[in-house]
Subunit: 266 residues, 2 copies
């Protein structure tokens, strides 16, 4: 699934490959990652086609209805006129909480076509937008504003350097946002502050890095932990999957205790 | 110059019009505003054309060479392949320090065509990108990366609700980033904390709001101050221009003392 776009990173800091098999590398699919990013914010950049067919990038806000972005844009703005003329559109959404290096951050592109909800569907679309963008109540009913729903046909997820994958619209539609990743900041901090030795054992015994000298959890999602390690051979980010996927962040503590025990026994 | 896209804001909080003439409403042009936003960050969303002519939005980093964005993108990424096939592109850049309501924030769209710098121009373009994006040193020399310079042909600036204007590529090229606005946070805080009465007098006597009950500086740029006022008729943001434009934030103190004196004498 996950691919690296480049070969040897040259003079970049060396990324060390694992020395042993990664026991359980389970991680979210690109479609799940995309659903998670889309659900984590309400601002995006929209790409539309200007009258001469050239691309036009502009800031928008959105809500979500079954994962499909719902926009509310004015025909007094170029993007609004563009969508009326050609309904092809894509949206770039960047995960909130950007790190110092923006290209290390997670972002997605959702591409497809926009449609005006019919009378039966408009109330739900309208409510989806207003739930995410309360300030839209001041303009959503103006005559120059149009509610559009993007039907996602193609998804690209980039999880930072060298982590990226595509998904179809069908995969995106049937996926769900991760219930853990956006609620686990406190738990991840706790793991790093109070359980550094357990993380190191996980990386050494389950994550394929027996020579890891230290380990730090970068992210917890419903399938497992991203653990960044240092080794004498360079750094790496490895994966330690839980015994079973979680349905809530409340299950994270049990799952990591289980991992710590497995690492001790391995 | 500045236009409001909508008429009466309906059930939105009422924006009160000025009761008397605004003495000196000087403010940056759309081209200057756009140069300022472009110079204030190094991340943008690029819109390109996919192989079927549909728009594609994606995160990029950029440096600036005479105001023109310099990109460094991989042909292993869709946007990199798109630019090789069709060099039309646009970039949406959002001013850093986003307020709670993203549509109240300043953003620009730069549209035009990208070109690969020739051998004579490549070193300067390369340095411009690296100066803004130091991490690019790890990949800029890979064979799959291309340095592109965007020739800006069309500019749209949106300064928040109801403040927006366009500029040509020529206007954008000949404008300069504002030397004050991105360096004046401390000075603006000082004005608000320690000179609230002077700001109120400016708004009442120079800004067209004799009925203002309080005033708060929202921004200082090289031409003047944006002052938000409350009145019994609603709120508004008015403009108090300095006697002469500033070339540096160091001149701001003198210029605002001058304004305070003018307001007293008016």
């Amino acid at each position: 699934m996950t691919t690296r776009d480049h070969g040897d990173p040259g003079d970049a800091p060396t990324i060390a490959p694992p020395l042993t098999a990664v026991t359980h590398p389970a991680r979210p699919s690109a479609a799940e990652e995309a659903r998670t990013v889309a659900a984590a914010t309400f601002t995006a950049t929209l790409a539309t086609l200007s009258s001469d067919g050239a691309p036009w990038a502009s800031l928008v806000t959105y809500g979500l209805l079954d994962g499909n972005p719902v926009l509310c844009v004015s025909t007094m703005a170029e993007h609004g006129r563009n969508l009326l003329r050609d309904n092809r559109a894509s949206m770039s959404i960047v995960a909130p909480g950007a790190p110092e290096d923006p290209l290390a951050n997670t972002r997605i592109t959702l591409a497809g076509t926009v449609h005006r909800p019919g009378d039966a569907d408009l109330p739900a679309a309208r409510e989806a937008h207003l739930a995410a963008v309360p300030a839209a109540r001041y303009y959503i009913d103006y005559g120059d504003f149009t509610v559009w729903q993007l039907t996602v046909e193609r998804v690209r997820w980039v999880g930072g350097y060298g982590r990226m994958d595509s998904a179809t619209g069908a995969e995106y539609s049937s996926a769900a946002p991760d219930p853990v990743v956006t609620n686990a900041d406190g738990a991840v901090r706790h793991l790093n502050d109070d359980h550094a030795q357990a993380l190191l054992a996980m990386a050494q015994r389950l994550g394929g890095y027996p020579d890891a000298t230290d380990a730090r959890c970068e992210r917890a999602d419903r399938y497992g932990l991203d653990i960044r390690v240092n080794t004498p051979r360079g750094w790496a980010v490895t994966r330690v999957g839980y015994v079973a996927p979680l349905d809530s962040v409340d299950e994270l503590r049990h799952a990591t205790v289980q991992l710590a025990r497995l690492a001790k026994e391995a």
